[in-house]
């Protein structure tokens, strides 16, 4: 009996609270409409209430109050039914429900089919001392005479426009257009086939090939202001991005670990040159807080950037790479949520066929030529530690041999500090000290120091990237 009384009391109370809650909401809504403009929360209508709307609202309130008077005092001994589990499907077209989202009840639903759009601005200021430094020899183009990118000035290095959406139930499309000082370029534009059987997935279009880990990240989103030296020397300041076909396969294995094999065939932009990429990636969680990823890259064909006087070209080469990533980010209950650490390292060995480099000595203007097979290598390692919710510090060490002569090399150290203003705006200050030997031109080692400031800011909906 006591149980029954308690249950009935509870049911009555629940109904009363429901109605009280609705009344309170309506009261608040009325009040806010009267105080239109006083509150900037978006879910509160701030336009002034029209007289007819006010009359309608008062009518709703009266109806609700009448309903309340009928239902809060049930006949003695009669069990009050609880509200239905949820309203009938037609009534489920409440704001936020599926029906309302498609049914034209909310403003702007015609936009639903528009792709997710984002714009990322990447502003940099790069200042070198002494001024010549890397600029004497454009390592990324493997020739002399071209100045380094955006040196000794402020620059809106890139505006990246991203357009991303599902094409149909089987595929999605991703477009990234880069607006540079030199014009507009297609950074990437590809379709991904999502529903292939047996763990396969395919990508067709122009994309960043599966080379290591860092070079696949768009430059505004990398951990440092610039790509590591070895990436820039082999594949250019912005890494490789070419049209082609990519097929990846989730390799089944007895340990249920993530193992992905990717094979790609690409042609260099605007040229009839081909190269092939394969990448094997393995990822596993060490603990709930930490994970390790290892990747092997193989590239063959014309993929090494160079820039002869006759025009931009690619050198035929074979390249092998290894990428390793360790990540620690505590998710356990008692750990500080704003601490994390990431270590990334990559190394590449490349063997270039029959190099015919042309180098112009800046002092004598003499053209130096080499013509031989060369092997060279380079690597970087970086660590970044999260100090607090918004602050990160990191250090990157770089080593890269020149393609033409393994006696020519660069060694750099780059400490940096990153401050996240919010999830959508980031500031970064990086210092880089570089020592370089150009034995083939100048027996005396040279060095330079660079201060780099980067501010990256984004608007719109940008999909998060896989770890």
């Amino acid at each position: 009996m006591d149980e029954e009384v308690l249950r009935l009391r509870g049911e009555m109370l629940k109904m009363r609270m429901d109605y009280d809650s609705k009344l309170r909401q309506l009261d608040e809504k009325l009040q806010r409409l009267e105080d239109s403009g006083a509150d900037n929360r978006p879910y509160i209508r701030t336009v002034a209430m029209a007289p007819e709307e006010k009359t309608k609202m008062e009518g709703e309130l009266k109806a609700l109050m009448g309903e309340k008077s009928q239902t809060t005092v049930p006949p003695s001994g009669m069990a009050m039914p609880l509200p239905p589990a949820y309203p009938h499907v037609a009534e489920r077209a409440t704001p936020g429900g599926f029906l309302s989202a498609l049914g034209g009840l909310r403003p702007g639903v015609s936009q639903t089919y528009n792709p997710d759009m984002s714009v990322i601005g990447d502003f940099t200021g790069q200042f070198y001392n002494p001024g010549r430094g890397r600029g004497d020899y454009d390592w990324s183009e493997n020739r002399y005479g071209k100045s380094r990118e955006f040196a000794d000035r402020f620059s809106l290095r890139e505006i990246e426009l991203g357009l991303q959406a599902a094409i149909d139930p089987y595929a999605r499309a991703d477009f990234f257009l880069g607006f540079h000082e030199g014009g507009v370029e297609v950074e990437e534009g590809y379709m991904t086939l999502l529903t292939l059987p047996k763990g396969f997935q395919a990508k067709i279009g122009q994309f960043k090939p599966a080379v290591g880990k860092v070079s696949r990240t768009h430059r505004p989103e990398t951990l440092q202001v610039d790509y590591p030296l070895i990436i820039r020397n082999l594949f250019g300041e912005e890494g490789l991005r070419d049209p082609g076909v990519s097929v990846s396969w989730l390799v089944p294995n007895p340990w249920d670990k993530f193992v992905e094999l990717t094979g790609e065939a690409l042609t260099t932009r605007g040229m009839n040159e081909r190269y092939y990429v394969t990448h094997l990636k393995s990822f596993f969680d060490i603990t709930p807080n930490s994970s390790f990823e290892a990747g092997l890259t193989g590239i063959t064909g014309r993929h090494i950037r160079t820039n002869f006087e006759a025009g931009t070209s690619r050198l035929r080469a074979n390249t092998a790479g290894l990428d390793l990533t360790y990540r620690w980010k505590p998710i356990t209950q008692k750990a500080n949520p704003y601490k994390s650490f990431i270590w990334q390292s990559e190394t590449y060995f490349t063997h270039v066929d029959n190099i015919d480099f042309q180098r112009r000595d800046p002092d004598t203007d003499e053209v130096l030529r080499t013509n031989k097979k060369e092997g060279s290598w380079g690597a970087f390692t970086s660590g970044e530690y999260q100090l607090s919710r918004r602050n990160y510090v990191g250090l990157r060490l770089d080593y890269a041999q020149a393609l033409s002569n393994h006696k020519d090399d660069e060694l750099a150290v780059s400490p940096y500090w990153t401050f996240w203003q919010s999830d959508f705006a980031r500031w970064r200050l990086q210092y880089t000290h570089t020592q370089r030997r150009l034995d083939s031109v100048n027996p005396h080692p040279s060095s330079d120091d660079a201060i780099m400031l980067q501010t990256t800011f984004s608007i719109g909906a940008h999909r998060p990237h896989p770890f």
Binding site: F98, Q333, R390, D423, R463
Partner: protein, 325 residues
Amino acid sequence: MKKRFKGIFWLTILALALTLPRVAVPLPAEAKVKIVTTSTDLASIARLIGGDKVEVESIIQGYQNPHYVDIKPSYMIKLHKADMFVKVGLDLELWSPVIAEGARNSRILAGGPGYVDASVGAEIMEIPQTKITRELGDIHIFGNPHYWLDPENSKVIADNILQGLKRIAPEGHAYFEERKAEFDKRVDELLPKWLEKMRPYKGTKVVTYHNSWPNFLNRFGLVAAGYVEPKPGVPPSPAHVTSLIDKIRHEDIKVVIQEPFYETKISQFVADKSGARLLILTPSVLGAEGVNDYFSLFDYLINSLISAFQEAGIKPNPGGGAPGL
């Protein structure tokens, strides 16, 4: 040298291709339905509906912040073998589409038979009615996604899971229906008891760190008088914190509520300076000791709040309702 590189290149591909027939093991004919959920709350409800015919796994842990999750490839492996994928929806898990697409499993992609958006039909609060921008912080355009904190919405979530199970495993139709009816009955039995316990504190004002409790507060008659975050997702500023402390003192607010996955120092400061108590409350199953399923989550939340109210010296009003209500 060139030949050696080419040899390595092709041998790698060949070696991996040869592993395929050895490791591709077919699933047993009568395997349980594999359900992967984004949150532990959905996992708990899915277990209650699916019973012993399902295996359920959650991507994130109960003590994790569902807004920020690293997109680990290991999550893709979980979804690769899943028959069903249940998500909170309303853009709470912006990371989930990337994981789902990386899983190479067309069954659990949006529109597939195993895709379940648990929010469909739920009572959603704070749906923007005007144009929103990021000036306003991290506003969810489809409304506040913490709707599972209203037990009434759990019946809608359970129904969405039930519909998914009927699509994936129609042979278990009657079994799942029966368990869903039991679930609803249990909610209908427990909710009045929870409401009765909270009735003496109806109208009590609280401050929360993030605006993640509107459904809970609304259901149980509590009032959010302010937030430690000045705007959703924006870290507190000194000016805002000072003003909040002033408000707490002025309105004699006794309790500040915060989830375990945020840093506590600012909230503790607010509590210390204002004389309020800081109460760390998990909003999810398995987020605290003893919170083992969806029902024990509400036992925990209500008992914790009542204890905090009592310790803070809030006198219960037997008639229900704060002065003036």
